[in-house]
C-alpha cells in the first residue's frame, strides 16, 4: 500500500498532484494555457486530446523535463516547479515517456536495474516485475536495441516501476502497438493500480483511456476543454471537447 497523503491545516487530505494555472512554452510557441488539474492519491486519471494538444508537454512539466513559465506544480502539498527531473524520482514521480526511450546499450535486465538507481523501497522488485510482465523475463538478456515495440513499452513501464513511484505518468502507452499487445499492457496496468499507485494516463486511444480511468481531462490546443468522472461523461461531450466542436 502506498503511504497516505499529507494533510492540510484543516485536517483534509491534500491531493497528491496539483497543477495550478500552468503555462508552458516551446521557445515562442505556447503549448499550455493556465492549465489546472488535481489528482488524488490512488486515482487513475486519463488525459486525452488530439495530437499537439499539449498532453506530452503537461507530463514533461510534471516530470521535470520542462519548467513552467507560469503557475505551479505541487506534489504532496510541496511545490516542485523548481526541481530538476532527476530529483523528482526519489520523491516518487516516474514518467514513462512517449516513444518508450529505453536504453539501447543496456540489456532488458539492466534497463530494469537502472530504474532502481534512485528509487524508493517498495513492492516492485525485479522478480515482481517479471511476474506482472512475464514476456520481460523471457528476454532478460536481450539488448535494448533489439526489442519490438510492445517489448519496449513493457520494459519502459517496468523500468519506471523499479523506482516504486507514488505517481506513475504514462505517455501514449498504446502508440504504434497491436491491439493484443495493448490489452496485455492494460492488464498489467490493473495490477499497478491495485498496489495503490496513482496513475496519469495520456492517450490518443480514447476508448481504452476512459475505460481504465475514474476521471478524465480533455486538452484542446493547450487548454482544458472538459473534465469529469468517466462514468458520467457522454460520447457527445467527449467528441465535442476533443475536436473543439
Amino acid at each position: 500500500m502506498s503511504t497516505s497523503g499529507a494533510t492540510s491545516s484543516d485536517g483534509a487530505l491534500v491531493p497528491l498532484l496539483e497543477i495550478e494555472a500552468v503555462s508552458s512554452f516551446y521557445g515562442d510557441f505556447q503549448a499550455l494555457f493556465d492549465v489546472c488539474i488535481t489528482i488524488g492519491e490512488g486515482e487513475t486519471v486519463a488525459i486525452i486530446g488530439a495530437n499537439g494538444a499539449g498532453k506530452s508537454t503537461l507530463l514533461a512539466t510534471v516530470a521535470g523535463l520542462m519548467r513552467p513559465a507560469a503557475g505551479d506544480v505541487r506534489f504532496d502539498g510541496r511545490s516542485i516547479s523548481g526541481l530538476p527531473a532527476y530529483k523528482r524520482v526519489p520523491l516518487g514521480i516516474a514518467l514513462v515517456p512517449e516513444g518508450r526511450r529505453i536504453f539501447p546499450s543496456l540489456t532488458v535486465a539492466e534497463n530494469l536495474r537502472v530504474g532502481a538507481t534512485r528509487g524508493r523501497p517498495g513492492p516492485w522488485t525485479l522478480g515482481r516485475i517479471y511476474k506482472t510482465f512475464p514476456l520481460l523475463e523471457a528476454i532478460a538478456g536481450r539488448w535494448g536495441a533489439a526489442l519490438s515495440g510492445g517489448e519496449q513499452q513493457a520494459l519502459a513501464i517496468g523500468r519506471a516501476l523499479m523506482g516504486n513511484p507514488r505517481l506513475l505518468l504514462l505517455d501514449e502507452l498504446s502508440l504504434g502497438l497491436a491491439p493484443t499487445v495493448i490489452k496485455s499492457l492494460y492488464a498489467g496496468l490493473r495490477e499497478i493500480k491495485e498496489e495503490g499507485t496513482t496513475v496519469v494516463l495520456v492517450e490518443q486511444d480514447v476508448g481504452q483511456a476512459l475505460a481504465a480511468a475514474e476521471r478524465a481531462y480533455c486538452l484542446l490546443e493547450g487548454r482544458i476543454s472538459l473534465h469529469g468522472a468517466t462514468s458520467e461523461l457522454t460520447r457527445e461531450q467527449v467528441i465535442g471537447a476533443y475536436f473543439g466542436l
Binding site: L65, A85, V89, L95, P97, R118, G144, A160
Partner: protein, 288 residues
Amino acid sequence: MVWLNQVVQGLLLGGLYALFATGLSLVFGVMRMVNLAQGDLIVLSSFLAFVLAGDLDWNPLLTLVILIPLMAILGFAAQALLLNHTLDSDLAPLLATFGLSVIIQNSLLEHFSGDTRRLHAGAIETESIRVTGQISIGWFPLMTFLVAVGLLVALQLLIRRTQIGRSLRATSDDRRAAQLVGIDNRKVYGIAAAISLATVAIAGVFLGVYSNFSPTSGPSRLLFAFEAVIIGGLGSPWGTLVGGVVLGVAQTVGAQVSVGWGDLTGHLVFLAVLLIRPRGLFARPELV
C-alpha cells in the same frame, strides 16, 4: 629482420598510444565531447610525476598512488565547474578545452622552461629480452603494453558490470531518459571525466619514462591519441588498442625508412584508413 624488430617495437608503442587514447574515447563516448587538452593533460601528469618523484625521492611509477586520485579529482572539478556548462553547444566544449590546452602549455613553460625532461624508473628502463639476434623486447615497453591491456580490461568491467557503468551507458544513450530514472547527468559526466583523467595520469607517467617530454609535447600526443581512436573505430575500446598498434607500427617502420618520416607515415596511414574505412576497423554501428 630489422624490419620485424621495428614492427615489434611499433606493436609495443601501440600500447602507449592506447593509454593516451583511452581517456579521450571514454569522454567522447559518454558526453560526445572531444577534449582538446588531452595531450597537454598527459604532459601535465608527466611533469607532476617529475616533481613528486624528485621531491619525495620516489620511483615515478610509485607517484601514481598520489597522481591517480589527484588527477581524478581535478577532472571531476573541471567538468562540474566548467565543462558541464558548455555541453549545450557544439563549439563551446572545443573552445573551452582549447583554452585549457593553451593555459596548461604556457603554465608549464613558465614554470619549467622549454627543456625536455625524462622520468627515470631505474634499470627496468633499459633492460630487455633478447628474442633473436635482431629482435629484442624492452621490459618497459612490454610493461606499458600490458598496463594498457589491463586498463582496458578494468574499464570494460567497470562499464559492463557495475552500477556506475550502467549509469554511464544509460546517460550516453539518452540523457533525458536517464534523468527520468533519477540519474544526475552532471554527476555522471563528472565521474566520466574523473575516470578519464585517472587514465591520463597513468598515460603521463608511462610516457615520461618511455620518452622525453616538454611543455609543448602535448599537441602531438593529442594527435596520436585521436588517430588511434579513429583507426580503431569509435566506441570500441579494443579497437583503440588495435588502432594504437597500427599507428605505432606505421611510425616505427616509417622511421626505419627515413629518420624524419616516422610521424608522417603514421599520419598518412591514418588518412588512408579515413578514406578507405571511415568508420575505423571496429566501429560500433550506433555511434557513427
